[in-house]
């Protein structure tokens, strides 16, 4: 695909990041649309703000129910920035020590926050 002269990137990692971020969103949106269409076609009633536990989400995904398809989309969108962080760590390894360390620290903080919330 040709690009205009102003569409220049600082490094090749930006190209990969663009694909991961947009790919994650498109996949999630597609799953949301499929899930909502399945709901509309089925006779199942649902409450707009009905919450799901993590176990409920996993079970509904396994059952491939409409709510499971939507939930899979939610999990993919939440995972997208995490994949982006991992990719930058891998890219900068052996290229830039600080920029390899930064995503690892960010990921550690995210895990720490998650663990703290579970423990509280």
């Amino acid at each position: 695909m040709s690009r205009s002269p102003d569409e220049q990137r600082e490094s090749p990692v930006e190209s990969a990041l663009e694909i991961v971020l947009f790919g994650g969103v498109i996949l999630s949106i597609a799953l949301f649309l499929i899930g909502l269409a399945s709901f509309a076609l089925s006779s199942q009633a649902f409450v707009l703000s009905q919450t799901e536990t993590l176990d409920g989400i996993i079970n509904s995904i396994a059952a491939l129910s409409p709510i499971g398809i939507i939930s899979l989309g939610v999990l993919i969108i939440i995972a997208t920035p995490i994949v982006r962080i991992l990719m930058t760590a891998v890219y900068f390894a052996n290229r830039d020590k600080l920029m390899t360390l930064v995503p690892i620290i960010v990921l550690s903080f995210i895990v720490l926050g998650f663990v703290l919330s579970v423990l509280r």
């Binding site: 569409e7 220049q8 971020l21 949301f32 707009l48 009905q50 969108i77 920035p81 960010v106 720490l112």
Partner: protein, 281 residues
């Protein structure tokens, strides 16, 4: 049974918030949460969880577009998000011990001051790479480049005051953990006014960062069973449409117009802060 009008209001509001969020590099939770709670009667915990997931949608959609255009300063964004995420976690812990009302009032006044400062101060100037190659090279680790509004050519900018920007990013994260607002709304002015990042690069880089801060909190909501998949999916679809429109608008917009739009959004956010502190929202 779901009311069609409710779905339409949520969808249209989400599109609008997606446009604003994508253009300005802010999450938009300050707008989406009251619409969902006050307008549609959705519980606050569900609205907050939905808002976090939609911030990831805004961030991923816009950042991918801005990465293509070369607007995002990846290294600066990665570096600052380290401080924002750590600040957000500490803020979430501190929230138990502090009263959000007083923070909201102080933050509201800071936003008003920043809005006027942003409105009156001249936009960052960057050097065209072709005009002065000797000065155009990267001298700092975080220096970047962006296409010039007038000529369309790449121009380089030097990033200044990195330690001050890092502290401000930590406070931005802290505020988002304490009062649910403060990611992009703090980081964009900090990058633009303090660090010498042109407004377009600042909003694009903020968009790149806000998704990561939102993930940290979204995982907590997910583990606590507070994610409502249906309402989240509808808001996310609206936000996606809005973010596609908003990112295209931002690319074509003049830097001065974008700064003015941001300054106005700061004023609106400040008013919402006062309304919240007063207990009217």
């Amino acid at each position: 049974m779901i009311d069609v009008a409710t779905l339409l209001i949520l969808l249209v509001a989400s599109v609008f918030i997606g446009v604003i969020g994508s253009m300005l590099g802010i999450g938009g939770g300050i707008f989406l949460v009251p619409i969902m709670t006050l307008g549609l009667g959705i519980p606050i915990s569900v609205a907050a969880a939905t808002s976090l997931v939609t911030i990831i949608v805004t961030s991923s959609t816009s950042a991918s577009r801005f990465l293509r255009k070369g607007f995002v300063n990846v290294k600066l964004g990665m570096f600052l998000e380290m401080f924002t995420v750590s600040g957000a976690i500490i803020g979430a812990v501190l929230v138990t011990y502090l009263t959000p009302q007083s923070i909201e009032i102080v933050f509201g006044f800071v936003l008003i001051y920043t809005a006027f400062y942003m409105w009156l101060r001249k936009e960052v100037e960057c050097r065209l790479s072709e005009e002065d190659p000797s000065e155009a090279g990267n001298v700092g680790r975080f220096d970047g480049s962006i296409s010039d509004d007038k000529t369309g050519k790449r121009c380089r900018y030097a990033v200044k005051n990195v330690p001050r920007g890092a502290i401000a990013s930590f406070i931005a994260g802290n505020l988002s953990g304490l009062i649910g607002v403060g990611g992009g709304i703090v980081k964009v002015p900090v990058m633009n006014l303090w660090m010498g990042v042109p407004i377009k690069a600042a909003t694009a880089t903020s968009n790149f960062m806000i998704g990561v801060t939102a993930v940290a909190s979204a995982l907590v909501y997910l583990s606590n069973g507070l994610i409502a998949p249906v309402v989240t999916s509808i808001a996310a679809i609206g936000i996606f449409i809005g973010a596609v429109i908003g990112s295209r608008m931002m690319i074509k917009m003049a830097g001065g117009t974008l700064r003015l739009a941001f300054a106005l959004t700061l004023i609106v956010t400040a008013v919402l802060m006062f309304v919240r502190a007063g207990g009217w929202m």
